[in-house]
């Protein structure tokens, strides 16, 4: 997504990226970025919360107008109702380490099978 934004910018189209994965977007490097510190999935605000969505779109439009140099990030003022998602997402610990290793092996077995069929 960030790569597409960069391509548009390089060809004369102004862009703003909206997202929740701050490190991925900023490592790639984009012209304008509206960051909302939410779990991945709702970069434009909570589901059914029109007011919040209006505010976040408003931030994106303001950034289009006002940014004067690339890599301009703004963070919206919203918070998720709790912080449990931060540690829970893609967590690796003793409770799931073996299951993850097995899932990886199974995935590689399937991939090898598909390759053989093709």
């Amino acid at each position: 997504m960030s790569l597409a934004a960069r391509h548009l910018e390089a060809n004369g189209v102004s862009t703003v990226v909206m997202g929740c994965a701050r490190d991925i977007v900023e490592e790639c490097g984009v012209a304008r970025f509206v960051f909302t510190d939410f779990p991945l999935g709702n970069p434009c605000g909570k589901p059914w919360d029109k007011e919040m969505q209006r505010s976040i779109v408003g931030s994106a439009l303001a950034l289009l107008e006002r940014a004067w140099m690339p890599r301009t990030t703004v963070q919206t003022p919203f918070h998720w109702e709790n912080d449990t998602w931060r540690d829970a997402f893609m967590r690796v610990d003793d409770s799931n380490r073996e299951a993850l290793a097995r899932a990886g092996e199974e995935r590689r077995r399937l991939q090898a099978e598909i390759k053989t069929v093709r």
């Binding site: 390089a10 990226v17 490097g29 969505q53 209006r54 994106a60 690339p70 997402f89 995935r107």
Partner: protein, 167 residues
């Protein structure tokens, strides 16, 4: 100040996904795009005269590709913005399915919110179509195939600015 912290607040998905896939036995981590230089195009006219488009990583339907061990393969697409889609396909994408959901399209593709901005005169108009891009493992396929296609559609639709939203 509100409080003191000895850690960074926002999640690093580069770190998190590397450790997660390492635990699955993938020892060679994914190499994320990194650039020192960033292209920049200032808005060429007042926003109230601009036509603004949207790009999403969501898909149109689940039937577009096959979900298998190799992941979902799909290409870029352009769809009419009116009538706005009631739902889009996101199940194959990397997002937090335990913490939230994507049943409200405007939470990840603000197609109705943007139309409101056009009706209010904040922007000149909303694009007649929105575009979809795959989240491709291959940066080359994105750069050589997808990105030029999106640019072509932007030109066909006369867009001045684009909002891109990653799930």
């Amino acid at each position: 100040m509100d409080n003191l912290r000895s850690y960074r607040s926002f999640v690093s998905y580069i770190d998190r996904s590397r450790e997660y896939y390492a635990a699955q036995g993938y020892s060679r981590p994914y190499a994320w795009a990194h650039h020192d230089d960033v292209p920049f195009t200032p808005l060429q006219k007042p926003l109230s005269g601009c036509r603004v488009g949207l790009v999403t990583t969501a898909g149109r339907t689940s039937a577009e590709g096959l979900i298998g061990a190799g992941g979902l393969m799909r290409g870029p697409y352009a769809e009419p913005a009116n009538p706005p889609p009631q739902n889009l396909f996101t199940n194959d994408l990397f997002w937090d399915k335990n913490a939230t959901h994507t049943n409200d399209v405007d939470s990840f593709l603000p197609i109705n919110r943007l139309a409101e901005q056009a009706a209010a005169g904040r922007i000149g108009s909303a694009a007649p179509r929105f575009y979809g891009v795959p989240t491709d493992y291959s940066q080359n396929r994105t750069l050589q195939g997808v990105a030029p296609q999106i640019l072509e559609w932007c030109r066909e639709d006369g867009l001045d600015a684009v909002i891109l939203l990653a799930l």
